[in-house]
Amino acid sequence: MPQLGESVTEGTILRWLKKPGDTIRLDEPLCEIETEKVTAELPSEFEGVMGEILVPEGETVAIGAPLCTVTVAGEGGPSGQSPSFAASPAGGWSGGPMAIPPDEAVPAPAGAPAAAVAQHPPETPGPGPQHSPEDRSRFYSPAVMRLAKEHGIDLEGMRGSGVGGRITRKDIEARIASGPPAIAGKPAATDDAMYEVVRFSATRRTIADNLSRSNIEAPQAWTMVEVDVSGLATLREREKERFARELGIELTMLPYFTAAVCEAIGEFPILNSRWEDGELRRYRALQIGVAVATDHGLVVPVIHNAGEMNVAGLARAIADLARRAHERRLRVEDVEGGTFTVNNTGAFGSIASKPLVNYPQVAIVSMERVVKRPVVVGDAIAIRSMVNVCLSFDHRVMDGLEAGGFLASLKRRLEGIA
């Protein structure tokens, strides 16, 4: 598919003017192409016999995609060379061999242009880091000098992981994290038989960083209420089968809980805030994160505009996010921008937990396990379905008044369900 105009990225085959087996002369039109900007005939760059049509009429393909094959004259018969006819992708601009997410996908020109691309080694104009095998263990960058001074680390004799043995900032940070060396001048003793070093994955490291930050920066208070969800339990029993049948979703209490959370936040909007750029931003839309435990770590995908959804919508959104979280198919936008987090700790059997605020958010609520318990109703003892609801919040942002008010509102709403 040729590039018929700047900024055009795809084209549609309107009509094939040649069919397989037809003789083709140089510059003879092969087909008609339509793009957002122009409609044009595609002249042949080869003389020969038309081979296979690769893109049928009406189909849209990216610039550079092969459209048909042509057996070039002089190559002799059907066994001759059949160049894949992509026209010259005028952009000449290759997506290359790297994997690209589909929404950023650049039409990758097929065939010859890719080879042309490979002929150019990456240009590195200007003075950059020059790598030579010389010993660089005594060259210290500004960052390394500063960190060494701040932490009283003797750089003498230390060998780094950088080019030429240079001590990198990460080497110093690792040294700081591991504490002072056991015996100066000797590497710390390790014993593979006694333990193994657990390497953090990128996900685990991000979780660790966020939780440390939350715990260090935000003074967090914790509070809990117990809620009678007997009505909700009955409703769920009643609706379970319909949800399975009509939506194909296994209905849990979480969507109801999330809906009630959204309504309660409506009364106490300060809970729907984030610390950003040194200021506290109270968000208008409810972007509710739902914690999902997967075998590759905890992820918190976000239900965008949760405040505008009903229970069925929430159930569907939660099921979809949870499924994609397990399959590792969450997109960046699925995990970004959360303004409040709901944690379903009851799934693990917990009856009380103290979640850490999902920084930069300011509050997190957990729904614990629903258990049948004898409770006093009026002057009698009854067996009711009870659940504890726990809230951790950033005490800088709000006091017990708002936090308690939010939980009371949530409790009232959950107990009001019948």
Binding site: Q3, E6, W93, E104, V106, H131, M145, V332, G337
Partner: protein, 325 residues
């Protein structure tokens, strides 16, 4: 809302804002017919008399816009290709950028100059230029260079609401290449703010326009090799979001600046100087610039164009070097 291309983001925003504010009008070459990139398509029928074809004279387009802004209108001047804007440099430099300063802030000059810039479209010498370095040197003009459709929308709205001249740079290669679900995009942004488009620990890549997308693609590929790059989408080139730029440089200690403009005197020099000046003690490697070589103009032949432009492979290679340093 469905996914939107960059060109649709621009067109819908112009439409919405013209509907909201009757002072806004568009002038430029062929804008009545929709412009060569179809950015103003359909607007003349909807807003008769407010989408005006100009002569092929860029200094006149900008001069008329300045005059109209003096009279209380909100002109949107379209320069068909950024390559042509230099004919109007004197108006922008000596008049537009200084008006507020000359009047000690008594008067303002609200005007937006929209123009498609950048290469990778086989546009040759006269349809591929990067012009940001000339105009970011003018303290009285704001220069915006978004990358994603939602940011085009919020920054074009912000530009139209701004009381200062805003040069709004639209990367023509991304017009129909980049799509985004704008309803579920990150929060609206404002002029003067950068965004961390991706967070990593090994190095920080600074980019804008097409190179931002190339940098993100390079970062995604590097992640599979265990190199995690932060990618900063600069969004506004003047005034710069100094805080975000420095914070992200301090966090990784390694900075890679990417732009498709030529190296010497390019905008990357400003970023490099800023980082060296204010984040020196946090640097763990020399600041690295990946730019087009110092060649007079973007070549036409595909292979030569490819040689000239930075892309994801070149960015990944430079990042690998820097990470290993």
């Amino acid at each position: 809302m469905a996914e939107m291309t960059v060109i649709e983001a621009i067109r819908t925003t112009l439409d919405e804002e013209m509907g909201r504010d009757s002072r806004i009008f568009i002038l430029g070459e062929d804008v009545e017919a929709g412009g060569v990139f179809r950015a103003t398509e359909g607007l003349v029928a909807k807003y008769p008399g407010r989408v005006i074809d100009s002569p092929l004279a860029e200094s006149s387009i900008i001069g008329v816009a300045i005059g109209a802004a003096h009279y209380g209108l909100r002109p949107v001047a379209e320069i068909q290709f950024a390559d042509f804007i230099h004919a109007a440099f004197d108006h922008l430099c000596s008049e537009a950028s200084r008006w507020s300063y000359r009047t000690r802030g008594d008067a303002c000059l609200p005007m937006v100059v929209r123009t498609p810039w950048g290469g990778g479209v086989h546009g040759g010498q006269h349809h591929s230029q990067s012009i940001e370095a000339y105009y970011t040197h003018l303290p009285g003009i704001k220069v915006v260079a978004p990358s994603f459709p939602a940011d085009y929308r919020s920054l074009l709205k912000a530009a139209l609401a701004d009381l200062n001249p805003v040069l709004f740079l639209e990367h023509k290669r991304t017009y129909r290449l980049i799509r985004q679900d704008v309803a579920n995009a990150p929060a609206e942004t404002v002029i003067g703010r950068a965004r961390i488009a991706r967070k990593g620990t090994d190095l920080t890549i600074y980019a804008y326009g097409l190179m931002l997308h190339e940098s993100l693609a390079a970062a995604a590929a590097l992640a599979s090799e265990g190199i995690e790059a932060t990618v900063v989408d600069l969004l506004t080139l003047q005034p710069l979001d100094v805080e975000t730029i420095l914070e992200s440089a301090r966090a990784t200690g390694k900075a890679l600046i990417v732009h498709e403009d030529t190296l010497t005197g390019g905008f990357g020099g400003e970023l490099a100087a800023l980082i060296a000046e204010h984040a020196f003690e946090h640097l763990d490697a020399p600041i690295r610039r990946l730019c087009a070589p110092d060649i007079p103009a973007m070549p036409y032949h595909p292979n030569m164009e490819h040689f000239f432009m930075p892309d994801r492979e070149k960015i990944a290679a430079a990042a690998r070097d820097l990470a290993a340093y």
